[in-house]
């Protein structure tokens, strides 16, 4: 197991040709995923047609495979099963050991990530693959693991979706005759309904419907092209791009990882402190990494390392479950409290009118959300102490952490660059009254400096910024101006006048209904889509009711990030897959996690209600 990786083995790995030029920070992260495996004579290491999940690096021993011409090929060095890291779904060759030996096992996905930044490693993987397969045996690449049933289910889903889309569009055209809407408003409703159907049935990637809507608005002359494209020319678009770039920088410079390791070294080795460390790491990274998935990618290796150090008995399962819950809540609990805590916040920020954007940018957002954050913290600690009340003890060796820190070496220029970028951002935001620069351009300025100084390379800029998400944001934030320009906002507000009166006179009930609808919708809809659809529906109500749209946006964002099952959140799914892949699925208690998630929903709702007097005090309500 990786916890037993000793310095000599690490030295061996570093001395290996394949890893001699790989970035130290990548090896440092990879250590947490790799396992040493002893192989006996005649043992079949990989079998042709089996799912290709792992890649093996030969440390010692001889392995044989059959070539297509009937001859056998011997292999002493390099990788085995390299096709797994090159995108293959199944192994193309059977390899067995002829003598007792030793290999290092790497999860293919993790090795592929490292290879993405280390071209020589990619070349070696390819060479290892061709060593054993040339001449080709015509095994075709298969798409990534999807069972036939899953395919059938998707086909049915697709079919239903594509049939539903024109039906809904036709119904809207038919019924809109009685709604006294102008032609452009009807057209836009049809476009939005088509986009919503594409999202609900997952007919296309999530960023495609906003682009489709943008195209339709321009081609059908629903609104001026300048309005349809206003999202791409707004400061918010460039702010999102810059924030993602700075986040990518922090994520990939190794700074966040180093801080994690330092935390592990500084904190006492006990169950409570490790739990706190996992949680605090997620919370601290919420300040600097605008992606829950990115934060999870940073914390999960440490979590996996901790879980691997435990067994699957009831006592250890309990502790592992506690660690998982700490990690998940650390990653997401305060994501709505900080404006750049997650991309959905930025999407809704982009959908605000200019006045609301200015009133709730960065520190103002934090100020308005601070009380909710404090309530969440208190309730979270209470719930956590109730659910995970135990006297069980836990500790692990710090040997691996020490090895990792040693590998990272002194703080690199890139890490210093990240520190400088974060400092510049923090000071810049605080000093707005002094420098009078808009925060959008301040963030862009920092990103440009990172790029021009070479701290953030063009390859990383391309690879680590979620460009489809940026396209999504650019296209979606034009929805509100489009609706305004064609009179749809007023029309919706007029028709939902009873709802807006309800929102004014019985706000607590309205919020309760909104929370319930969001929790139910999230069972079938992904976060981004739910956020956009609920914002589109509730912002006109807010306007008509004389309530700032920030309140509704905040409630939507807070409730959307709550989930019950792992499939509802990508970062949660990401962790679950990693645990399954590391064969740790039996080392924690899934039911307890679901119970914890339900509690998290309850404390979110409670935090919203408890914040109402505070918002009244701030004149937000």
């Amino acid at each position: 197991m990786n916890k037993s990786i000793a310095t000599p083995l690490l030295d061996l790995l570093l001395a290996n040709d394949a890893f001699s030029r790989v970035r130290k920070r990548d090896i440092s992260r990879l250590i947490l995923f790799m396992n040493e495996q002893v192989v006996s004579a005649d043992e079949v290491l990989i079998e042709k047609g089996a799912p290709a999940n792992d890649v093996f690096l030969i440390i010692k021993g001889k392995f044989l495979t059959d070539a297509p011409d009937g001859k056998t090929v011997e292999k002493y060095t390099g990788f085995i099963g390299a096709e797994a890291a090159l995108g293959a779904a199944v192994y193309h060759k059977t390899l067995r050991a002829t003598d007792p030996g030793c290999v290092m096992r790497f999860p293919a996905k993790e090795l592929d990530k490292v290879a993405g930044f280390n071209p020589q490693l990619k070349s070696l993987l390819f060479e290892s693959f061709t060593d054993t397969t040339l001449p080709t045996d015509h095994v075709s690449y298969q798409p990534a693991a999807r069972s036939e049933n899953a395919n059938e289910k998707t086909d049915w889903q697709d079919l239903t979706g594509w049939i539903t889309l024109p039906i809904i569009a036709t119904l809207i055209i038919y019924f809109s005759q009685g709604w006294a809407l102008n032609a452009n408003a009807v057209r836009f409703l049809v476009v939005v309904s088509a986009a919503a159907t594409m999202w609900v049935f997952a007919l296309v990637p999530a960023f495609v419907p906003p682009l489709f809507s943008l195209l339709a608005v321009i081609l059908f002359d629903i609104a001026p092209a300048a309005t349809a494209l206003s999202g791409f020319t707004s400061g918010t678009f460039f702010m999102c791009m810059s924030v993602f770039a700075i986040g990518a920088m922090v994520l990939n410079s190794g700074l966040a990882f180093r801080l994690m390791l330092k935390l592990m070294v500084w904190l006492p080795t006990s169950r409570t402190w490790y739990s706190l460390m996992l949680w605090a790491a997620g919370v601290l990274m919420t300040l600097v990494i605008p992606s829950p998935a990115g934060r999870m990618a940073m914390v999960s290796p440490v979590l996996i390392n901790l879980i691997e150090s435990s067994d699957s008995n009831a006592h250890c399962k309990y502790i592992a479950t506690q660690f998982i819950c700490s990690t998940m809540s650390g990653v997401i609990l305060f994501a709505t409290i900080f404006m750049a805590g997650k991309p959905s916040n930025l999407i809704l920020y982009g959908m605000f009118d200019g006045q609301t954007q200015f009133a709730y940018q960065w520190l103002n957002w934090l100020g308005a959300a601070s009380f909710t954050g404090a309530v969440l913290l208190v309730l979270y600690v209470g719930v956590f102490l109730i659910i995970f009340r135990t006297t069980a003890t836990f500790s692990i060796s710090r040997q691996v952490v020490a090895s990792q820190l040693k590998l990272l070496g002194p703080i690199s220029n890139r890490e210093w660059g990240s520190v400088a970028a974060l400092l510049a951002l923090g000071v810049g935001v605080l000093a707005v009254p002094f420098h009078k620069m808009e925060i959008s351009w301040l963030t862009l300025g920092i990103a440009v400096m990172l790029l021009s100084s070479g701290i953030l390379g063009p390859q990383e800029f391309r690879k680590y910024i979620d460009w489809p998400l940026l396209l999504f944001i650019g296209a979606i934030i034009a929805w509100v101006p489009i609706m305004e320009s064609i009179g749809l906002t007023t029309a919706i507000a007029d028709r939902l006048v009873c709802l807006s009166r309800f929102a004014v006179t019985r706000l607590p009930t309205f919020i309760g209904v909104l929370c319930l609808l969001i929790v139910v919708s999230r069972l079938i809809l992904p976060t981004g889509v739910t956020v956009v659809l609920f914002a589109t529906a509730t912002f006109p109500i807010a306007k008509s009711a004389g309530i700032t749209p920030w309140i509704f946006a905040f409630i939507i964002l807070l409730m959307c990030e709550a989930h019950i099952f792992a499939y509802q959140n990508p970062f949660s799914m990401q962790l679950r897959n990693q645990l399954i892949h590391q064969k740790l699925a039996n080392n924690y208690n899934e039911k307890k996690i679901i119970l914890f998630n339900l509690w998290m929903i309850a404390i979110r709702v409670a935090a919203i209600y408890l914040s109402l007097p505070f918002w009244k005090y701030l004149d937000v309500l």
């Binding site: 200019g354 006045q355 200015f358 009133a359 103002n364 220029n413 707005v432 009254p433 002094f434 420098h435 009078k436 620069m437 300025g445 400096m449 021009s452 100084s453 007023t490 009166r501 008509s544 004389g546 004149d619």
Partner: protein
């Protein structure tokens, strides 16, 4: 060594560039425009057109617009929140010049910033009250443009339509009676005295009526249709559906019902709006203060104050001079009234003519 030199040069460049940006931004004038109402109100939309005609030539000045939305939401609680939001914005954005439009913005915001030794210079526009009502007189950081109804122009057009409908204005015959109906809004309260003292002759001025609710409005229209020949209306956007309630009647519904009721109960001439956008609501004819002039003058004053770093009080307060005529031909035809072509041409030129 070379790398260290390169890093040092890059760091120095970043510092110098940042310093340049900070210095440049600190010298860039900032003008904040605060409207009492929202952009969906035609008056506000057209004031902004007037402002932008001037602002567009000054891209090196930073502008920001803020809408208090006090026409759509009339509750005291909303007013307090809108006031607080405006103050927060001023405190955080720190404008050099503050442009405040309409009376409520003066009452809720202007009074806080118009004082001696205040660094923020204030320009007002769309003010129906006297500027003394807000304590602006004698203060050196304020100037602006007062909004006064173009009563002379209104009188001229009333005479014209009365003549068209057979009234003998110069002879011994019965002269048309003119009545005014409005709400008890803050701005109408300020103007009503001016209407009463204006010389409407040869027209006969009937004592004006002010109401609060939509129901009272329609009842008054019925009464006035019997006592007056011409009905002048203004500022009906704050008519509540119920007494003391916050829900407002739709402006289009009010105008449609007013015209129908007035005609049905014996009104002899069309209802005439005292705001040009009354025709946008469905009215037949309106004469009102020009919003473009309000925006244009306020913008020019603000630019001058910002550029020349002068005190706003050094510029004299002015009164509105321009007016707008708006015509809805279909409605006017119902009264068989032909106006001189110059009116139609004027309405068309300002995009206020509806076929």
């Amino acid at each position: 060594m070379k790398k260290k030199i390169i890093i040092a040069i890059k760091t120095l460049l970043v510092i110098v560039l940042t310093a340049f940006v900070v210095v440049h931004k600190s010298r860039t004038p900032r003008i904040l425009v605060i409207h009492s109402y929202n952009i969906d109100y035609a008056w506000v939309r057209d004031i902004n057109l007037g402002l932008k005609r001037v602002f567009d030539k000054h891209y090196d000045i930073t502008f920001r617009f803020h809408y208090m939305d006090l026409k759509n939401h009339i509750g005291e609680d909303f007013q307090r929140r809108a006031q607080e939001a405006a103050h927060k914005l001023i405190q955080s954005w720190q404008p050099d010049v503050l442009i405040l439009f309409d009376d409520l913005a003066q009452k809720l915001v202007g009074t806080q910033y118009v004082k001696q030794n205040e660094p923020i210079q204030v320009i007002f526009g769309g003010v129906s009250h006297s500027h003394e009502d807000y304590g602006y007189d004698g203060k050196d950081n304020v100037t602006g443009i007062l909004e006064r109804k173009p009563l002379q122009a209104i009188k001229a057009i009333l005479e014209r339509i009365a003549f068209a409908r057979g009234f003998d204005l110069n002879g011994p015959g019965t002269k048309p009676k003119v009545a005014f109906l409005g709400t008890r809004s803050y701005s109408i309260n300020a103007e009503i005295g001016i209407y009463n003292t204006f010389d409407w002759s040869p027209l006969i001025w009937v004592a004006p009526t002010q109401v609060e609710t939509y129901e009272q409005w329609l009842d008054s229209v019925k009464l006035l249709s019997r006592s007056a020949d011409i009905l002048l209306v203004s500022n009906y956007r704050k008519l509540s559906l119920k007494s003391g309630g916050n829900k407002l009647a739709s402006s289009k519904e009010v105008m449609a019902a007013t015209q129908q009721t007035f005609k049905r109960h014996g009104g002899r001439l069309p209802v005439v709006g005292m705001n040009y956008f009354n025709v946008e609501d469905g009215g037949a004819l309106a004469v009102g203060t020009s919003p473009y002039e309000q925006g244009d003058i306020a913008a020019k004053m603000a630019i001058r104050v910002a550029r020349e770093k002068m005190l706003a009080g050094q510029i004299d307060i002015v009164q509105s001079k321009q007016f707008i005529v708006a015509i809805r031909k279909k409605e006017l035809d119902l009264w068989e009234i032909q106006l001189p072509p110059v009116y139609e041409a004027f309405a068309r030129a300002t995009d206020n003519y509806w076929d």
